[in-house]
């Protein structure tokens, strides 16, 4: 999504109040943006704490400030700067974390970001965007950029079946339809399930939904989804994020508050920062039990037994 992100930002850079900070990352990706922004593109060096506070101060002075880094360096290292300097003052700083979830795979756990949006959603005024498809990035950049509040964008890599027509951006979208379970997913991993879900007979084929904006207070569940959940055929929430603080707990709390019966509730999540051995994003997804095979075992167990 870096390419799409850079393109969207270049388009946006006509705004003279836009400033962009990078923590020394973006080689072979952000050069066009650097070219477009000139002195408003600032490589702040390997000093993320300073970068976030500087961006907060520039936002305080009226600038639209964007901060870019590899996801963990964007939110974990400068967490107190995000909390005190950005969120406490409700400043419109936009944090861009590239390679969220297990995106940096075999680079190892220091580069993974599997508690990013959970941690950030504990902060006041914070909005989170988790685009699913490369095609979402342009819309997400516009929506986040136009917000008067702080926001975090978790960028990944769009993963769609060959020839798949990506539905137009919306904060909630339904990707597959059937009479099976309701499946709600955050992040590009949703794209990896589409083909397998579509191949299932209608009776067990899940209603697959993706959500790209959190918290849910600002992005309520659509009526059609609520209706499907009310059929009580079971619900599965999936995310490349740790169990606590993510979409699963957010939804569980909402269901309890609204007294919604969902049937069997499954939550599949990124279960560990690292395992005994290292590996790619797909390897780590399989280890966590959020790969296609693990998900199919939950949504259509009867078919696997046959």
């Amino acid at each position: 999504m870096r390419k799409q992100f850079c393109d969207a930002m270049v388009t946006r850079s006509v705004n003279p109040d836009m400033v962009f900070f990078t923590g020394d990352l973006g080689f072979m990706a952000l050069e066009p943006l650097q070219q477009a922004l000139q002195d408003r593109f600032i490589n702040a060096g390997i000093a993320e704490q300073n970068m976030v506070s500087v961006a907060a101060a520039m936002a305080r002075e009226g600038f639209e400030a964007w901060v870019y880094s590899i996801a963990p360096f964007c939110y974990a290292r400068p967490f107190e700067q995000i909390r005190n300097d950005v969120a406490f003052h409700n400043l419109p700083v936009k944090l861009i974390g590239n390679g969220g979830g297990y995106g940096y795979g075999v680079m190892g756990p220091t580069h993974h970001a599997i508690e990013d949006y959970g941690v950030l959603l504990t902060l006041p005024n914070m909005h989170v965007f988790v685009p699913v498809f490369d095609e979402d990035v342009e819309a997400v950049v516009t929506r986040a950029g136009d917000l008067k509040n702080p926001a975090y964008l978790r960028l990944g890599r769009g993963e769609i079946p060959t020839g798949y027509a990506v539905p137009m951006y919306a904060p909630w979208r339904q990707l597959t339809q059937g009479d099976g379970m309701v499946v709600i997913v955050a992040g590009p991993i949703a794209g990896t399930y589409i083909e397998s879900f579509q191949s299932l007979p209608e009776a067990v084929r899940p209603n697959l939904w993706i959500v790209t904006e959190l918290p849910l207070e600002h992005n309520p569940l659509p009526d059609s989804l609520i209706k499907q959940i009310s059929a009580v055929r079971g619900l599965c929430v999936l995310e490349e994020h740790v169990r606590r603080g993510g979409l699963g707990s957010e939804l569980a709390l909402l269901f309890l508050e609204k007294n919604m019966k969902v049937g069997t509730f499954h939550h599949l999540y990124a279960s560990a920062h690292h395992y005994a051995t290292y590996g790619s994003q797909n390897f780590l997804r399989a280890q966590s039990g959020i790969d296609v095979k693990s998900v199919m075992a939950v949504v259509a167990p009867q078919l696997l037994e046959n």
Partner: protein, 251 residues
């Protein structure tokens, strides 16, 4: 005027029964001077050592921007004047500081913003000396030096005492002026209680970021507080309060 401010500062802390007095007294002269003579409507002040909020509140009070009633609510319930500067509600206070190591980055960002906007204002940032132990302060200093932020003046309240020891015993950066002089900064060292000397340092212009190290005394002006670590924390009792006021008036 500084005597009035010193007395009002003591009164406010006494009435609210709170500490942090020592570090307020060490920087009061510099905060009063900058606010009365240097900081105009185009300029910005950022208190990185947020625990000296009292000195800032008193300076704003002395300029008529905070009322007596507001000072009376210092540290009380339903106040804007918390122990550290508030996030909103007071026009002259831009940021909620108090966690050390944030203010200099905020000041650098503000200075860069003014430059990019083509505005004339200067940014003044007051740090403690202990807060130079925070890595983020050095990140900010590197940034300010690299970007030649000549509209930024860093004031260091060098009172040599921190929360639980003398700065050079805890994690020494001594001599701080020499360490900072290794960077592309205009570093001056002055008596932080001699207004004429501070003025001379502030009047010296530079084409790079300025640092003025204020050699100060924690608890300045009150004999039993001077150079004493416990006055980082202690509130005043009645006898101590009257004694302190008497001493400040005598100077």
């Amino acid at each position: 005027m500084v005597v009035t401010a010193r007395k009002r500062l003591l009164q406010m802390h006494f009435e609210s029964g709170v500490g942090h007095i020592g570090g307020n007294l060490s920087c009061l002269d510099a905060i009063m001077l900058t606010h009365h003579e240097y900081i105009g409507s185009e300029d910005r002040f950022i208190l990185s050592k947020g625990h000296s909020a009292g000195a800032l509140y008193i300076s704003l009070w002395s300029l008529g921007r905070l009322s007596d009633d507001m000072l009376k609510k210092f540290h009380k319930d339903d106040t804007l004047l918390a122990g550290h500067p508030p996030a909103s509600g007071i026009k002259d206070i831009l940021f909620a500081t108090g966690s050390l190591g944030h203010g200099l980055s905020l000041a650098a960002g503000t200075a860069l913003a003014l430059q990019l906007k083509g505005q004339n204002g200067n940014v003044y940032c007051l740090t403690s000396d202990g807060e130079w132990q925070e890595g983020s302060t050095w990140e900010a200093m590197i940034f300010a030096a690299h970007h030649r932020l000549n509209n930024l003046t860093i004031l260091v309240d060098h009172n040599n005492l921190q929360g639980f020891g003398r700065t050079h015993d805890v994690a020494s950066m001594s001599p701080l002026a020499e360490k900072l002089s290794g960077f592309n900064l205009d570093v001056q060292r002055v008596d932080g209680h001699d207004l004429a000397t501070i003025r001379a340092a502030l009047d010296k212009s530079s084409d790079i970021c300025r640092v003025i190290i204020l050699e100060t005394t924690k608890g300045r002006g009150v004999s039993f507080m001077e150079h004493r670590m416990e006055w980082h924390y202690l509130p005043l009792n009645v006898e101590q309060y009257h004694q302190a006021i008497k001493e400040v008036e005598a100077k």
